[in-house]
């Protein structure tokens, strides 16, 4: 996007700002919140590739996260396999799961809400499975020992994890940045806008969709390793929580689907709203209501997300029109 290039110096400045930020923030709380924002933005970005660019909404994105977390954690606890290599197997595991889920659902032509539901079903299935088999530790869960060091991807200070999350997020932005200017990205967008036309113009829509979900899976896998090495505990409800599936699509929708910075903006806004509401409202549960209300307002009034609203103000024509109705009759 030429627009992006124009703002490149601004972006580099922002990135440098994030890198040096921990030298100015001494509060552990803020570092943790920022780490969580990067982590959610990263997961949101993985959802964005399949959902925002290829137009295939998934409701079970957590399955890749959970599977990646189990892959590296089990390798670590049973074989002592260092997570710095384990993360790559987690990435492979996530991509492989993406291949299976993608092949099965896209091959049978599942789209829209049917696809969303089947991904939800896969995530639930994996949660139940992880609960009932032994090598995952079942319902008791897996406990990882704390032994800081790069080979364990564990750090002595929260700042270490801050940088870990920041690197993940930078990588995810780089992936989507590449996507925007590439043939593969254009093909995904074509599929989102009109799958029949895409197919007619020589795009192997099945293959493209499977690649997209594999990228999402690979990214989710790495996130799983990050999480388990940071929190040192994993059980099926954490690994396959619906909450995380919803969060990754929420930050993307709020920020702006199919945009490079949508997930980051969404994650930043939602986490900030959440923290601020929690800070100022003492009545238990009320902060969640405020959070929910703000969410409804954003989604109701800004169907293209915050970035979409900003773009519209900047330039009225050539809008991203995910919400615009298209007549798709079969002749």
């Amino acid at each position: 996007m030429s627009n992006l290039r124009r703002h490149l110096s601004f972006l580099v400045l922002g990135a440098i700002g994030l890198v040096v930020l921990p030298y100015f923030i001494t509060s552990r709380f803020y570092i943790d919140v920022l780490t969580l924002i990067f982590f959610t933005a990263y997961l949101g970005q993985s959802w964005n590739i399949l959902g925002g660019y290829a137009g295939q909404f998934s409701f079970g994105g957590v399955m890749f996260f959970g599977t990646g977390a189990y892959v590296s954690s089990i390798l670590l606890t049973t074989f002592g396999f260092p997570p710095i290599f384990g993360i790559f197997l987690a990435i492979l595991g996530g991509a492989f799961l993406g291949l299976i889920v993608g092949y099965m659902s896209f091959r049978s032509g599942l789209k829209g809400s049917y696809f969303a539901l089947i991904t939800l079903a896969f995530a639930e299935l994996l949660r139940v499975l992880a609960n009932s088999v032994e090598f995952t530790g079942g319902g008791v869960g897996l406990f990882l020992t704390y032994a800081p060091g790069l080979s364990n991807l564990q750090f002595e200070t929260p700042v270490g994890f801050y940088y870990f999350a920041l690197v993940l997020m930078f990588i995810s932005i780089a992936i989507v940045y590449w996507l925007e200017g590439s043939r593969f990205g254009a093909q995904l967008v074509a599929i989102r806008e009109n799958e029949d036309a895409a197919e007619a113009l020589g795009i192997d829509t099945l293959r493209c969709k499977i690649y997209a979900i594999m990228i999402m899976g690979a990214m989710g896998g790495a996130a799983g390793t990050f999480y388990s090495q940071k929190y040192l505990y994993l059980d099926p409800p954490i690994a396959y929580s619906i909450h995380l599936s919803v969060e990754m699509l929420l930050v993307t929708i709020v920020g702006g689907m199919g945009t490079i910075f949508g997930p980051l903006v969404g994650a930043f806004v939602l986490h900030t709203v959440n923290e601020v509401a929690r800070h100022f409202i003492d009545t238990p549960g009320l902060s969640l209501i405020v959070y929910g209300l703000i969410l409804i307002i954003i989604i109701g009034y800004l169907p293209n997300g915050l970035i979409g609203a900003f773009k519209k103000k900047e330039k009225k024509s050539g809008s991203n029109s995910l919400d615009k109705k298209r007549s798709r009759e079969e002749s």
């Binding site: 093909q187 806008e193 036309a197 007619a200 795009i203 002749s331």
Partner: protein, 244 residues
Amino acid sequence: MLRVNNLTKKFGGLVAVSSVDLEVNEKEIVSLIGPNGAGKTTLFAMVAGFLKADEGEINFENASIVGMKPHQICQRGMVRTFQITQPFAGLTTLQNIMVGAYSNTAQTNSARKKAEEVAEVVGMTSLLSQGADGLTVAGRKRLELARALATDPKLLLLDEVMAGLNPAEIDEIVKVIKGIRDRGVTIFLIEHVMKAVMNLSDRTYVLNDGKLIASGTPSSVAENPQVIEAYLGHGAAEAMAEGA
């Protein structure tokens, strides 16, 4: 170049296309006409791989393409447009055409160059940066044509690219289609606009109730009593002959 034998498609009890044989030779413009509901678009959809034929053979450049997916057929050099235009609504005209151009190159720069070239051919250069959802009907029809052309096809299947256009716009698009043929692309088109059919086609096939009822040069087909009856109703040919 394209040879169709005994092609049949049934929807439940309705025979939409009934053992049709036809042929399109290299560098020809061949048209397919017929009343509404004759099965023209169904035939196109089968040829382009969007519908599975119940029976029959489809050969493109001496190889069977039955059972192939549309994208595979496109990669072999046959591409269709849609009667009901199917733009990538959220993208600009340029981005739309680039999707077609990407079928031959992975390079963004060469895809953009190709798209700009094609836009020139169909006369859309001034609309390149406009959103596809803001195009007029004529613009959308041209965009269909441009996207298909950007895939560098050997055979172009055009499904009513003139429907809904005014006479001036039709004259323009007829010129564009002739220009495309002169660049060496074979064209097979479905059309209702008779003036354009007469003007453009080397040969014409007439489909009625799923069956081919006539074929030949456009003028010979237009005088065929069966064809007149198909369009105007039973007895029309006689009445016209008497009237004359």
